[in-house]
């Protein structure tokens, strides 16, 4: 979640003239950017998906697909719609400029472009994009634990369910709840309760890199396990359970803090209709883990009537 080394921002140029690409490569060579380019609009869209550039420089007049159509395709794609687009065009009619800006382009540079101006406009778009990305990230991260928050959990789980169904891949969900958290808060104070949540989050983050731990709310966590079937998910959850149980805490020696887990495998749920159903199934298993004595892992499918 935290980048050790900040990569250079990527700029993608889509222009059907090789002359312009040569010019951009030379003129932007001293900028702190990674420049990519293509002369084909359709290929440009594919590259945008692959590279997720921070800024796109877009020509209007191109043979396979004009710049407005490319911009529309970008704006229609939920993953690409926030990438700022700067139009660079030799067709500098006022109507085109207005249309481009109305469609969501952030800027418009006329060809032939002044180099200093082009650089300034690219830098300006990169600055705004950096802030937008930061805000988007902040809006999805839980402030106390640094885990993904509920908003992210819901979105990511929907995506993972769709992927798992489409590609027939495994997917399990683990719900986890700290045992006796309310009593812990009352007896040891809220700062200690916060410490427990932070340490548990570190433990959940120290698992497999493909696991996606999120703070579901309060003292409850949801861990999305892509490419993982139920039995393996049970083992993964049990490793987390043991790590939590073994954690050393400040205060009176011998204090242990435990958590209970519920596991659901989407392929063991017949005709899954919504992610709420999946969360509900994992939650029901978690509830059973609580009833059966806490500090344990239960599966949502153990009690399926064998019919």
């Amino acid at each position: 979640m935290s980048a050790a080394k900040i990569p250079l921002p990527k700029v993608l140029a889509i222009d059907d003239s090789e002359l312009i690409h040569r010019l951009l490569r030379v003129r932007l060579q001293h900028e702190q950017i990674e420049l990519h380019g293509t002369t084909d609009a359709v290929e440009g869209l594919a590259m945008a998906r692959r590279l997720m550039p921070d800024v796109i420089l877009l020509d209007i007049e191109m043979r396979s697909m004009d710049g407005f159509a490319v911009l529309q395709a970008l704006k229609d794609d939920i993953d690409l719609q926030d990438i700022p687009v700067i139009f660079i065009s030799a067709t500098a009619s006022m109507e085109d400029r207005v249309r481009a800006l109305d469609m969501g382009a952030v800027d418009f540079v006329a060809k032939p472009f002044e180099v200093v101006e082009l650089k300034a406009r690219v830098r300006s778009a990169l600055r705004v994009q950096h802030l937008v990305k930061m805000l988007a990230q902040k809006a999805q991260v839980d402030g106390l634990t640094g885990l993904w928050n509920r908003t992210y959990f819901d979105r990511r789980l929907s995506q993972e369910v769709a992927q798992a169904v489409r590609h027939r891949r495994g997917l399990s969900l683990v719900m986890c709840d700290v045992d006796g958290f309310k009593r812990l808060n009352d007896e040891c104070g809220h700062p200690f309760g916060d410490l427990v949540l932070e340490r548990l989050s570190k433990i959940l983050l120290s698992g497999r890199t493909s696991d996606v731990p999120c703070r579901y709310g309060g003292e409850e966590f949801g861990i999305i396990l892509p490419n993982t079937h139920g039995s393996e998910a049970m083992e993964v959850a049990d490793r987390y359970r043991r790590a939590i149980e073994l954690e050393q805490w400040p205060g009176p020696t011998g204090r242990t803090i435990t958590a209970s887990f519920g596991v659901a495998d989407i392929h063991a749920l017949d005709g899954l209709q919504s992610i709420e159903e999946l969360v509900g199934a994992a939650d029901a298993a978690l509830y059973r883990a609580k009833l059966n004595g806490r500090n344990r892992v239960e599966s949502a499918h153990a009690d399926r009537p064998a019919r």
Binding site: L19, V26, A90, K111, P112
Partner: protein
């Protein structure tokens, strides 16, 4: 001698960053202009316009703004469906100007 006196040089002739691509641009220019003349001769006006449009957008960037303006006149002429003789005359002016271009 007359040809050199009339030579048109790039505005970026002294920019070491640019010298490589300006030389490439100038060396490719006869082919580019040749392709435009061929398109005109074959009556492929849209092809001519696309080539003129590209030159219009790029020539200034290589330090030849007047070449870009000459190309813009052809782009506009085809767009406005000007008389073919007007296009031919504009193409003739562009060809003559391009022949004077040096890095």
């Amino acid at each position: 001698m007359t040809q050199d006196a009339q030579a048109v040089r790039s505005e970026f002739a002294d920019d070491p960053d640019m010298s490589g691509i300006v030389e490439l641009f100038v060396s490719e220019l006869p082919d580019r202009v040749g392709a435009m003349n061929a398109a005109l001769a074959a009556g492929q006006l849209e092809q001519l316009r696309v080539l003129a449009h590209q030159l219009k957008g790029a020539a200034g960037g290589y330090g030849f703004p007047r070449l870009g303006e000459a190309a813009a006149l052809i782009d506009q002429g085809v767009k406005d469906a000007c008389d073919i003789n007007v296009i031919r005359s504009r193409m003739g002016m562009l060809s003559a100007f391009a022949a004077r271009v040096r890095p």
